[in-house]
């Protein structure tokens, strides 16, 4: 038998008060772990989405507000298509690619669709080259200072029209060709090679995009100039999506874009997600507040129970001291118990918090939560420190008991 077995046996002899006080510590760790898990997973998901979107800067007409990144061109406001050429000629650092769009309503077989005009890169690259910018390696921008992006733009795979779903640009598209989203293809029963009639003209479907879960699934994409001609809008566009090669470059880019296109509104994807990130940050900070409050409550509760435990065990402690237990032995007996409670509370809180986050994450925030082992270490360490700190004075009181009480109280 050792000190730890004495601690363990005593703990199970009087489990109820200790477990009750431990509950607050456990809840503190649970709150921290659950909220941190969800906040971090949400941030990761947003970062992943930003990376996968490719286009991380939008150039919009000045009066346009923006609620939905995927619907950035569906506001009715326009700006001259000439802005695209201006940007291509500016050769700005950080710009990998441009995707101008014009969005108009249309119907196909009496089914309303969103017809989106897109300008294949081949066309404005040719235009830029014709206007004297072709000597540079990058036909649109310069990749000076850029980091690699997950979205390959301009590579061989970009020749596939279906790449529009992920890269948001396309290398070439004929004037009588269409690319259609997965949902609308399903509604129209259209597939690659089908012919569809739009605004009085026939188009051939060259590709059906894979489902993305966005508004793009309900769009029909055609050549920008065909859309302009058929909808009588003239040479205008609703938005220019810019694929900036990395966040740093995108940050510098905003000022440069504003200089080149002062009549526009420049919105970065970072701004769009800033609100969500702020909410996550708030959640994260709140979790530390809950954690601290609950730990304080738990600590006070443990201290109170420990004091009661010392009072209840006076005779027992006196007996141990009469039999040769040193003050440090008695102190270690109580602090050992506190350590066990802290470890149990921290670990229990980590497990409960993780399970809670895994269950609630998808329901509340739509994020898949991965367990964070680091939080286990933080939770266990903090809960243990709080439990030990709360038990220190009761342990000292136990160690300073007068062993003579074994006689006096007999």
């Amino acid at each position: 038998m050792k000190l730890r077995s004495l601690v363990w046996k005593e703990l199970w002899q009087r489990p109820t008060p200790m477990l009750t006080s431990l509950l607050a510590v456990t809840l503190g760790v649970t709150a921290l772990v659950a909220i941190q898990n969800m906040a971090v997973s949400s941030e990761k998901q947003i970062a992943g989405e930003m990376e996968s979107l490719g286009a991380n800067v939008l150039v919009l007409p000045p009066k346009v507000g923006l609620q939905d990144y995927y619907a950035a061109d569906m506001h009715g406001e326009t700006m001259p298509e000439e802005f695209v050429t201006r940007l291509a000629l500016a050769k700005m650092p950080g710009v990998q690619n441009l995707a101008p769009k014009l969005c108009v309503p249309a119907t196909v077989d009496s089914i309303p669709v969103t017809l989106t005009g897109i300008l294949p890169r081949a066309e404005f690259q040719a235009k830029a080259a014709w206007q004297g910018a072709s000597l540079l390696m990058n036909p649109v921008g310069s990749d000076r200072g850029c980091c690699p992006t997950a979205v390959a733009v301009g590579g061989a795979e970009d020749e596939d029209p279906a790449a529009l779903a992920t890269t948001r640009t396309i290398q070439s598209l004929g004037k009588d060709e269409l690319i259609i989203g997965a949902d609308i293809a399903g509604q129209l029963g259209a597939k690659e090679g089908s012919t569809l009639s739009l605004l009085g003209e026939d188009f051939q479907v060259v590709s059906v995009l894979p489902a993305t879960g966005t508004i793009d699934d309900g769009r029909v994409f055609a050549h920008l100039h065909s859309v302009q001609r058929l909808s009588d809008t003239g040479p205008v566009i609703n938005v220019i999506e810019i694929m900036a090669c990395c966040e740093d470059a995108a940050g510098d880019l905003v000022a440069n874009l504003s200089t080149v296109l002062p009549q526009t509104r420049i919105v970065t994807l970072e701004q769009i997600v800033a609100t969500q990130v702020a909410v996550n940050g708030l959640m994260s900070r709140l979790s530390w507040v809950f954690f601290s409050i609950l730990l304080l409550v738990g600590g006070a509760s443990i201290a109170s129970v420990m004091y009661a435990n010392v009072a209840e065990r006076r005779k027992e402690i006196g007996t141990l001291m009469a039999l040769g237990a040193s003050r440090s032995f008695v102190t270690r007996m109580f602090l050992g118990k506190a350590t066990l409670l802290g470890i149990a509370g921290g670990f229990g809180g980590f497990l409960a918090g993780t399970v809670l986050a895994v269950i609630l994450g998808p329901q509340l925030l739509g994020v898949t939560v991965e367990p964070m082992p680091l939080l286990c270490a933080v939770g266990v360490a903090t809960a243990t420190v709080v439990a030990i700190a709360a038990s220190y004075l009761p342990a000292r009181r136990a160690a300073s008991l007068d062993p003579c009480l074994v006689f006096n109280e007999a």
Binding site: M1, K2, L3, L6, K9, E10, Q13, K315, E316, G318, T319, L320, M321, A322, L323, G324, A325, S326, R327, S328, F329, D402, P403, C404, V406, F407, N408, A410
Partner: protein, 230 residues
């Protein structure tokens, strides 16, 4: 051997100072069997606490084998108590959530004995007091007499040189009282010094020597008081 030189213990309660033990000189040779008797409040428990190294006297010195107990640092005094002194309590003072064998192991845990040795010795001691069949029973599952026998086994765990017993039969019936005193006699025959506080004259008769405490003053039972001498 114990030697008390001019030992005084004063208590202050609610502003009043009371002498629990007054200028007491006492010698207890090795292998003595002493009964300390006296009325309630005469200072018996105080004397036992002082002998046990648990209560520092207000004045005087207490020597155990020539070593002044209260000149030792607390930690050393505690270690010496665990090594040389065993206690028997009126209420047995067993740890209620430990089994008989675990209770007997406690002094061995405190002295740092290996776990296997602890259990082996504890079982042997319980066999010696006739409780071989009860080693895994908790105190609440045993009679009062059996509990006191477990306490006696615990007292022997570290093979102490001195046993201090505080009313060891106070909670026992007459039959069990006899059993316990037989065990104490046996421990005395093993060569140990027994100092026993009791108010029961029949139990005191088991001792070889009786010290009477009256108002904090200790005298051998046969020795006349100063008033009687005068």
């Amino acid at each position: 051997m114990y030697c008390l030189n001019s030992v005084t213990k004063m208590y202050t309660r609610r502003g009043q100072t009371v002498a629990a033990l007054e200028n007491t000189d006492l010698e207890i040779p090795d292998n003595d069997f002493v009964a300390i008797v006296g009325p309630s409040g005469s200072g018996k428990t105080t004397l036992l606490s002082i002998l046990g190294g648990m209560l520092a006297p207000t004045a005087g010195e207490v020597l155990l084998d020539g070593q002044s107990l209260y000149d030792l640092p607390v930690a050393e005094r505690t270690a010496l108590r665990g090594e040389k002194i065993g206690f028997v309590f009126q209420a047995f003072n067993l740890i209620p959530w430990l089994t008989a064998v675990e209770n007997v192991q406690i002094p061995l845990v405190l002295s740092g004995r290996a776990s296997d040795d602890q259990r082996e010795r504890a079982q042997h001691l319980l066999e010696r007091v006739g409780l071989a069949e009860r080693i895994d029973h908790r105190p609440a599952e045993m009679s009062q007499g059996q509990q006191q026998r477990v306490a006696l086994a615990r007292t022997l765990a570290n093979d102490p040189q001195v046993i201090l017993a505080d009313e060891p039969t106070g909670n026992l019936d007459s039959e069990t009282r006899g059993q316990v005193m037989e065990y104490l006699n046996e421990f005395h025959r093993d060569g140990r010094t027994i100092v026993m506080v009791t108010h029961d004259t029949a139990v005191a008769d088991f001792a070889h020597r009786t010290i009477r405490l009256v108002a904090g003053v200790a005298r051998d039972a046969g020795e006349p008081s100063p008033a009687e001498a005068a």
